[in-house]
Amino acid sequence: MNTQTYKPGEHPDMPAPTNTTGAVAWLRDNLFSTPTNIALTLLSLWFLYKIIPGALDWFLFDAAYTGKDRNECMAKADGACWAFVGERWKLFTYGFYPAAERWRVNLSFILLIAALVPVLWDKTPFRRHLIWFSIAYPFIAGWLLLGGFGLPKVGTDEFGGFMLTLVIGVTGIAFSLPIGILLALGRMSNLPIIRVFSVCFIEFFRGVPLITLLFVASTMLSYFLPPGTTFDLLLRVLIMVTLFSSAYMAEVVRGGLQAIPKGQFEAADAMGLKYWPAMRLIVLPQALKISIPGIVNSFIGLYKDSVLVIIIGLLDPLGIGRASVATTEWGGLSTEIYVFVGIFFFISCFAMSRYSLYLEDKLETSHKR
């Protein structure tokens, strides 16, 4: 080992000492820096050791994937039994939608993706024109799924599974946003009657659980309709879900409206703009931009809440799952079935929440410390 001396200014670039970079340093800084930290690390590792192997065995390695029914499946393995997924996936996806007409569900799903792209991704070519298709999508999908005008009709009692979740989600999202914006504007309005009405509406729907509103829809809403008219159950549920989520949407949008400096409203007045042009051209574009992450979060909430429809007898994936638990073939597999439905919801909701984070990052223009 020879020590070499350098003149000032002639030092070659040397790598950092090994104990301050790389895996070892990372481990030391993040896991073993203080005695408490070491204890915490060991505790966490012990916890993972207790949980992970058992869970993986049950979920993956000891699980059975084929079999006609529960007994055949359980005989093969000690772990979970996933055979019902293969046997019943069509039920989980389409519900009781007639087999010959299922292409319509598939087509509406493909169109949904096409309609979402211009909304979610702001660099889509021709976005300005494509957005009209997105606005028209709920009506096109409604026609495709329900039929009429040349297509054979399908009753809403045959809707079910994943498709039903999407129907509730898309309808709720498409209609609750405009109603929510109107309610938020109403709540901020100078006209007392409009304001009082909006506040009452919002606070009522935010004060009661969705499940009670669904009970109202299923038991008592028909009394309020003119004698002789009947609504089908899904439509009543959709109305309630939309009103419920528009109350939450209104509060999110109100947050955005309150964040707009007063000068913007005054400037709009000074330009001689009337109320609606001022809102449309100046206030709402800014307010909605701020509230986009909140809006996406309410959408996730609405999407998750859509499972509550099983309590009044509609069969979304969870409903199909519960019905499967009650059958003789698959009885007693409740854990597997709920985990399966849970994974399905986790994937879609996690994707949405990542998207919301991405938006927040994109809209964040301040300098972080």
């Binding site: 993040n30 896991l31 820096s33 930290n37 915490l40 690390t41 505790l43 966490s44 590792l45 916890f47 993972l48 100078n190 006209l191 007392p192 009657i193 409009i194 009405f197 009522f204 935010r206 004060g207 009661v208 659980p209 969705l210 499940i211 009670t212 009970f215 109202v216 038991t219 008592m220 028909s222 009394y223 309020f224 309709l225 003119p226 004698p227 996730i300 998750k304 809440d305 499972v307 509550l308 099983i310 309590i311 969870l318 519960r322 007693g332 409740s334 854990t335 709920y338 985990v339 439905v341 849970g342 919801f345 986790f346 909701c349 996690f350 929440s353 410390r369």
Partner: protein
């Protein structure tokens, strides 16, 4: 040219009124009022006509008729001969019980999760992150059904009960635990406990005033501990343990005596708390991160210890950010407790909105009661949390 400009002011009356800001707002409001009330009147009229057509009417008399169904968890005296009104009260108590128990557990777990999520330890941090993301992105109803399913399917039958020190027994029919039977002397201990709490409240106020005025500090924590726990505990033993425990025992296919906590209650309580805790964890994390790091630095520059910094500088400021979203989580938990009906826990929705409704066929009356009850509970929670929020709010000039 001059002729066109001259015609402009001569517009008709309607247009002049419409262009005047004051009158226009009055007109819009009258129209809105008429439309809303017209709509409500239309619905009420439909309801009256429809109810008459099937001969039902609208009356709350059924509330005083016997309910003739059983409720498996009733904290007040109830049997199937009790009235629907009493069934409703049992339901309300059950809802409040799950709400209070859930809020307490969710807050504790949520604060732990929030702190773990901020930990510098990478593994701990990731475990908390995975837990929060998993729980938040799965509907709460699935959590409830899953936990209930696991409890009912994986816990043993009463014959093979898991014994906890031969006093409590965990089975798929619930947790059977000893039931305290209070002897008269016990009330002295209870009175001492209440006195200790009241004393502590006043003592803390006094200690704070003394410190503000003179800078002198009392050992507040130890004195409070002695007053609330120490003295009642000592007196309990001095008075010769005035509580006897009624221990459950196996008889036939089930346990007798003792106290039972039903699997429905345990499942609902755990699922709601675990679900809400994930949201509270994120709120706590955001709240602590919202306190400028300069505050911590300034505090250590003044030579204040880490623990006191956390207590006196960081947490009071973080609470201002945490409390408003925490309120809405408490409301959500209370509202989500209505999902109890999916696993058969008898809350408001399951009693008056479920069985009573089906037995009497009085949809209108029952649903009205349910909605009003939930509105009252929501308003009370909001009012309390707003009061608390006002108390800890930043006092500005």
């Amino acid at each position: 040219m001059s002729t066109t400009t001259a015609t402009v002011p001569q517009r008709n009356l309607v247009s002049r009124l419409w262009n005047d800001k004051e009158t226009r707002s009055v007109i819009i409001q009258i129209i809105a009022f008429a439309a809303i009330f017209g709509f409500i009147a239309f619905m009420v009229r439909n309801a009256i006509v429809n109810l008459e057509a099937i001969g039902k009417g609208f009356s709350f008399n059924f509330l005083f008729q016997p309910a003739s169904y059983d409720i498996n968890q009733a904290l007040i005296e109830y049997d199937s001969r009790s009235s629907h009104l009493r069934a409703t009260i049992v339901g309300v108590i059950n809802t409040l019980l799950i709400a209070v128990a859930g809020v307490i557990l969710a807050t504790i777990l949520g604060f732990i999760l929030g702190v773990l999520r901020l930990s510098k330890n990478w593994i701990t941090n990731r475990i908390a992150y995975v837990y929060i993301e998993y729980v938040r992105n799965v509907p709460v109803l699935i959590h409830i059904l899953l936990v209930h399913g696991i409890i009912v399917h994986s816990l043993p039958k009463p014959k093979q009960a898991i014994s906890i020190g031969d006093a409590a027994f965990l089975t798929n029919r619930g947790l059977f635990s000893p039931k305290p039977l209070f002897e008269p002397l016990f009330w002295i201990v209870a009175a001492l406990l209440v006195a200790g709490v009241i004393f502590t409240i006043f003592f803390r106020r006094h200690a704070k005033r003394v410190q503000d005025e003179t800078g002198k500090q009392y050992p507040v924590f130890w004195i409070s501990l002695a007053a609330i726990i120490g003295i009642p505990f000592l007196s309990y033993f001095i008075l010769g343990s005035p509580i006897t425990w009624e221990i459950p025992y196996l008889k036939g296919f089930n346990f007798k005596d003792g106290m039972v906590i039903r699997p429905e209650f345990i499942a609902l309580w755990l699922a709601l708390s675990l679900y809400t805790a994930a949201f509270i964890g994120e709120i706590v994390r955001a709240g602590i991160l919202a306190v400028n790091y300069g505050q911590t630095e300034a505090s250590s520059a003044l030579g204040i210890s880490r623990g006191r910094t956390l207590n006196l500088v960081v947490i009071p400021q973080a609470m201002r950010v945490i409390v408003p979203p925490l309120t809405s989580q408490y409301l959500n938990l209370t509202k989500n407790s209505s999902l109890a009906i999916a696993i058969g826990y008898m809350d408001i929705v399951a009693t008056i909105g479920g069985i009573s409704l089906n037995q009497t066929g009085r949809e209108m009356e029952c649903m009205t009661i349910v909605l009003i009850l939930y509105l009252i509970i929501s308003l009370l929670i909001s009012a309390f949390m707003n009061w608390y929020n006002k108390r800890i709010k930043l006092v500005e000039r």
